[in-house]
Amino acid sequence: MKTNKILMNMKYFLIAIFLVLFLSPIIFQIITGFKTLGQIYDPDQIVSVKNLSLSIWKDAVQYQKFLHYLKNSLITSITSTVIVMFFAIPAAFGLAKLKMGEKTRKNLSFEFLAMRMLPGIAVIIPIFVVYKKIGLLYTLPGLILIYIVFNIPLATWLLEGFFKEVPNEISEAARIDGCNPRTELLRIIIPLSAPGLLSVMILTYIFTWNEYMFASILTTSSCRTLPVWAAYVTYQHFIINYSMLGVSSTVMIVPVIIFAILMQKYLVRGLSFGAIKE
């Protein structure tokens, strides 16, 4: 019908507007990485894309050594994600499937969720002091340890939801066959909830990649991660370096964007956890 078509077109139009609103700032930011400071500060070139150059990028690689920070970010995120899974999978399995007092289950589950509310600012001072004493300060392992601790709660809670989706009948059947919990976990639960696992891994990876506060206090140039570098290369003392802002932002967000688009299905699963009940 005609009204339906008009309605559809209006919908597409609105979607287009929102897309522009959501994505154009990012595009502007990326383009900035290809402009020199003189071009950025020229009022006539605010939205122009002429005369873009790679000179800023060359400077970033040679002089600012950003590949080193990229490497740090990669190491930190990948290691944290893997180790978080090592802790969170058994914990979620225990909470979702294993026999325990119902009250205990509810309380423990809540405790994991509550840990997510812990603001980083509350623990950063003691962590700094102790790290300094035991020599973990300004090292990657120290940072990774913190990331692990702060990502286990969310990972556990999400995994618990995914594990609960595996029907109990399957577990019961396995038990009747004489299967022990460890095998149940490895051979039944994990394969069946693989998409959920993947989404939790992706989410954890993104959180550790994006984290700033702990990284800024617990690292120095040898183990600095990308967000910290972005902050400090932009705010130099006598100039706000918008070119480097563009470069550093691009390096930070483009991998994550590509990741998110490719893994979109899993990301959405992870985020829609427990929100949808049949």
């Binding site: 020199t36 400071l37 003189g38 071009q39 500060y41 020229d42 009022p43 003691p126 700094f128 002091v129 102790v130 300094k132 004493k133 300004y138 800024s216 206090i217 120095t220 140039s221 902050a231 400090y232 290369v233 705010y235 130099q236 003392h237 006598f238 100039i239 706000i240």
Partner: protein, 492 residues
């Protein structure tokens, strides 16, 4: 049941262990390594030789001290013009002495935080730490900072050939030298030479205001105000103002510099006593006639609409952008800011001697003209193994030759007076003339224990008055009471 209790026990034990670790970690051990390294008997060859330039002496002695040992100097510095200038000359040192220098650059954001935390931990990881002048009082008083007097006696840095006041920066309350200035920078004014020197503009101004302006001798309370008002205009004819007379900083912390640069010139006293507070009595001194007058003249310019509209977000990093994108006729900032636009080869729209001129900041008729310097100052950490070599390095980089070398090749503000007056150097750095003018009257930010906090309080109230949220009297009263409270917090 038993297992449950056992679990609880283990849990509490773990938490207890952690807490106990913290308890022993906290409290801040203080290790003052004041004792001189007397084992180094000053032999003839480790002393200065007659007629030897300072840099040669420093490298010669350092090389001798390092003979046979593999020594690495660890320097913590800021990733700013001073740090970058230093990085360029370090190869010269390494070649002459064979001592490698490992540098760790920090951003200005991190510097204040890391430096203080490093010191507080009692065991800094660096030999030399370089930090910004205005956070330096807590640093200078920290017992983990090395006393430099013995080394200064052995190897004289010739403070008398440096800019006035630089030696005092590094002197702690007990009279000993703790810090060594490496890079000062004077607060100057940049202006649109193409507009200000234009005879048409000059005569139009004379018609409107009845006198001729002299850009090298403006006054805060009259000619600067008039000039700022005169140049605020609508350049593209769309009915909206798009060009302003002036650009000053009102961002948190930065605003304090704006205020101070004026206050220095309004003093009835021509000798720096106490700006902002009396640190001994712990009392704020700003709420008096002078303080009020400074505030009023500043806000008059803001209220007349003669300043760029984004002043509340404008800090040291934003001035260059505002000025070089063609938004204001005048702008104020420390010398190094202007280095990117002082030559014509710059990428910025407004750059080069035709468009950009530099002058000393305005003053007050009848009072001595002065301005402030900021800068970077270094100290040696108390637990270093190589105090002599660290000191010699600091001496070397402030030596006349290296000082001049850095001024010629990077964004370096010299410490030696002679460098500012060297015509070759000035040709490469047009700002040096304005920076050096009236240098006998240079003042620097006060060495208060709580200067950072005072600065923030002042900045915030300046922003409030500029936005019309407070009157000047209210602001001064609040500033006074808040700063007094801060002094109480540190026990004054």
């Amino acid at each position: 049941m038993r297992k449950g209790k056992l679990t609880l026990l283990i849990l509490s034990f773990l938490c207890l262990t952690f807490t106990v670790t913290f308890l022993f970690a906290g409290g801040g051990k203080e290790k003052a390594k004041e004792e001189m390294k007397e084992e180094a008997v000053v032999e003839k060859e480790l002393g200065p030789m007659p007629g030897e330039p300072m840099d040669k002496m420093a490298t010669r002695i350092a090389k001798a001290l390092a003979k046979g040992k593999k020594i690495e100097l660890h320097v913590l510095l800021t990733w700013d013009p001073p740090g970058q200038a230093l990085l360029k000359v370090i190869p010269i040192w390494e070649k002459a002495t064979g001592i490698k220098v490992f540098t760790e650059p920090l951003s200005t954001i991190e510097m204040s935080q890391k430096v203080n935390l490093e010191l507080a931990s009692g065991e800094p990881d660096y030999d030399i730490i370089q930090y910004d002048r205005w956070i330096h009082k807590p640093v200078l008083e920290n017992p983990n900072v090395l006393n430099l007097d013995p080394y200064i006696k052995k190897w004289d840095p010739k403070f008398e050939t440096m800019l006035p006041g630089l030696e005092e920066w590094g002197i702690a309350d007990d009279g000993t030298h703790r810090g060594f200035v490496f890079w000062p920078g004077m607060y100057i004014m940049a202006y649109r030479a193409d507009m200000i020197n234009d005879p048409k503009e000059k005569s139009a101004f004379q018609e409107k205001y009845g006198y001729v302006y002299d850009i090298d001798n403006l006054t805060w309370d009259k000619s600067y105000k008039d000039l700022a008002e005169f140049f605020t205009r609508d350049n593209d004819g769309d009915g909206k103002i798009d060009f302003w007379g002036s650009c000053e900083m009102f961002a948190p912390y930065a605003a304090g510099d704006t205020y101070m640069s004026r206050y220095l010139n309004y003093w009835a006293r021509d000798h720096y006593v106490d700006y902002l507070s009396d640190p001994e009595a712990g009392k704020c001194l700003l709420n008096d006639a002078t303080g009020k007058r400074v505030f009023k003249d500043l806000i008059d310019v803001v209220n007349a609409g003669s300043m760029v509209p984004e002043i509340l977000q404008t800090d040291w990093g934003a001035i260059l952008g505002s000025f070089s994108s063609g938004r204001s006729a005048m702008a104020f900032q420390y010398g190094a800011t202007w280095y990117p636009i002082q030559t014509s080869a710059s990428e910025f729209k407004i750059s080069g001697p035709d468009k950009v001129g530099f002058a000393h900041i305005p003053g007050i008729k009848g009072k001595p003209r002065s301005t402030m310097n900021c800068g970077w100052i270094s100290f040696i950490t108390g637990n270093t193994d190589i105090p002599e070599i660290a000191y010699l390095f600091m001496l070397w980089r402030s030596s006349p030759k290296i000082d001049r070398e850095m001024a010629m090749t990077s964004l370096h503000s010299p410490v030696r007076e002679a460098t500012y007056q060297d015509p070759e150097v000035i040709a490469v750095n047009p700002t040096f003339k304005a920076q050096f003018e009236y240098s006998e009257n240079l003042f620097t930010t006060p060495a208060h224990l709580i200067y950072e906090e005072e600065n923030l309080i002042l900045s915030n109230h300046m922003a409030a008055v500029a936005s019309g949220d407070e009157t000047i009297d209210e602001a001064l009263k609040k500033i006074e009471s808040e700063i007094n409270k801060k002094w109480e917090e540190v026990g004054k």
